[in-house]
């Protein structure tokens, strides 16, 4: 293999940094296992080896990633997502290009549907639509019988209660979600020292009224349990705005933990296997849970009684 610098200037992934600076949320006693040491730099991850690995993934496009990109954008020609004129040169020399980017619109397209024509005609559309409650697919002939003739289709759905209801044993509703500091499972954002320092570990948000009912004070370590039998240990933060609802950020898995079998902070593992019938998105917002206090804040912070 010839040695070649990746033309797009990509670098190999950075090593895991050690945490520096004060942590905003110190949640565990000082006996918590230390983070793994950063991996040492090695010659097995030079730019040449990285580029050749990419070439192996695209055997029809030997060389470097730009040829794979060109092959891909050629496939989009004539489609709704046409990017056939979107070259590396344009990407490198712009602040970003909005597709479609074609011969007719070489600098991209800022706004779609300015002529109020949508790609919903039976010959053009890529899907005939679904019933939102079950995911039942509409058939071609009934779609043609109600040809929208280039108009947009708005769909409404009646409210359906969640399949999992709260009860005396699991009286609170857990919703998991995102926080501004991290992206997904933190495989990139945990490597940015400022982001990692701002939010290094999981916490649970409770409504102050609910917290008072359960005898939980700010910073107390609590156990969140669902019907799946999984649990999350997290300090309580009393900023919840809705009684009966509990929030956990889902960013904290265990890829970077010294004891990876110890699953005590992966919020989405509390949820059931269920998905939206049309989009197939998992249901993360309506799990029934119970919340129990484990230790006082002072002990959780310092590890001393």
């Amino acid at each position: 293999m010839s040695s070649c610098r990746p033309p797009c200037g990509a670098r190999r992934p950075a090593a895991t940094p050690t945490p520096t600076g004060p942590c905003t949320f110190r949640t565990r006693p000082s006996t918590r296992p230390a983070r793994p040491a950063p991996t040492s730099t090695s010659s097995s991850t030079t730019p040449a080896a990285w580029t050749c690995a990419t070439a192996a993934a695209f055997p029809c496009c030997p060389g470097h990633p730009e040829q794979a990109w060109t092959a891909f954008t050629a496939l989009t020609r004539g489609r709704v997502c046409d990017q056939s004129a979107l070259t590396y040169h344009k990407l490198r020399n712009s602040q970003g290009i909005q597709w479609p980017c074609t011969e007719q619109a070489p600098q991209g397209t800022e706004r779609l549907y300015t002529d109020h024509t949508f790609p919903t005609r039976p010959e053009t559309c890529t899907d005939y639509g679904h019933d939102l409650a079950t995911g039942a697919q509409n058939e071609a002939d009934e779609y043609r019988a109600h040809d929208p003739d280039g108009r947009a289709i708005l769909k409404a759905a009646s409210y359906l209660p969640p399949h999992e209801e709260t009860d005396a044993d699991h009286p609170l509703q857990l919703t998991t979600g995102r926080k501004v500091y991290h992206w997904h499972t933190r495989t990139k954002t945990s490597r940015a020292p400022e982001l990692e320092a701002a939010a290094p570990d999981v916490w649970v948000e409770l409504h102050p009224g609910d917290a008072a009912d359960y005898g939980i004070a700010e910073g107390d370590l609590v156990l969140v349990t669902s019907r799946q039998g999984t649990t999350v240990e997290a300090p309580a933060v009393l900023t919840g705005t809705r009684p009966g609802v509990v929030f956990l950020p889902f960013h904290y898995g265990y890829f970077d933990q010294a004891v990876p079998e110890r699953h005590t902070r992966a919020a989405n593992e509390l949820t059931r296997t269920e998905w939206d019938p049309v989009s197939k998105q998992p249901i993360y917002k309506v799990t029934a849970v119970r919340v129990d206090k484990l230790t006082d804040a002072r002990i959780a912070r310092t590890g001393r009684r």
Binding site: D131, T134, A136, L160, H163, W275, P277
Partner: protein
């Protein structure tokens, strides 16, 4: 002979039987989230239909009572089906059993649909516009159930029938 009342009674029974079958299938297919949850949703839908049919029956001098279900027995049966399904969920025959369950539901849902067709014709014949509107709406919901069953059958068939064990 209260023929309209008879028709409403048969329609009511058909919807209740369909609800029971949806719940049984949900239990047997507990390991398949793409079948289990929609079956529970549609069982609820059939219950709602049955309630509306009882209200219609009041207007046609027909007394229809809610189906009697022993909740304890039903819950125990559900729990057993659920557990068995989880244990057998990924058995090689589970795809064929799913197709059989979906086909049975399809046939039962179509039977409900035939009753709606008849009731719609009756409503037009006796010039009961509000009955006709209600029947049209509820029939459409039953047709959507058939559409979902078709979608799920098409979805499941290749894996169940066209792969090697």
């Amino acid at each position: 002979m209260n023929k309209i009342g008879l028709l409403l009674g048969e329609l009511h029974d058909a919807e209740c039987d369909l609800a029971t079958e949806y719940r049984a299938v949900a239990g047997r297919q507990a390991a398949d989230a793409g079948t289990h949850y929609p079956c529970l949703t549609l069982a609820q839908k059939c219950d709602t239909h049955a309630t509306r049919i009882r209200e219609m029956a009041d207007r046609y001098a027909k007394d229809l009572s809610e189906p009697h279900q022993s909740h304890t027995v039903a819950a125990a049966a559900d729990a057993i089906r659920h557990k068995t399904s989880e244990l057998l969920g990924h058995h090689p025959q589970s795809g064929l059993l799913l197709l059989r369950d979906l086909r049975q539901l399809y046939v039962m849902a179509q039977a409900v649909g035939v009753h709606w067709i008849l009731l719609g014709q009756v409503a037009q014949a006796i010039r009961d516009a509000s009955l006709f509107d209600e029947v049209t709406a509820l029939h459409k919901e039953t047709l959507t159930q058939v559409k979902w069953l078709t979608t799920r059958l098409k979805d499941a068939a290749p894996q169940a029938l066209a792969t090697r064990d």
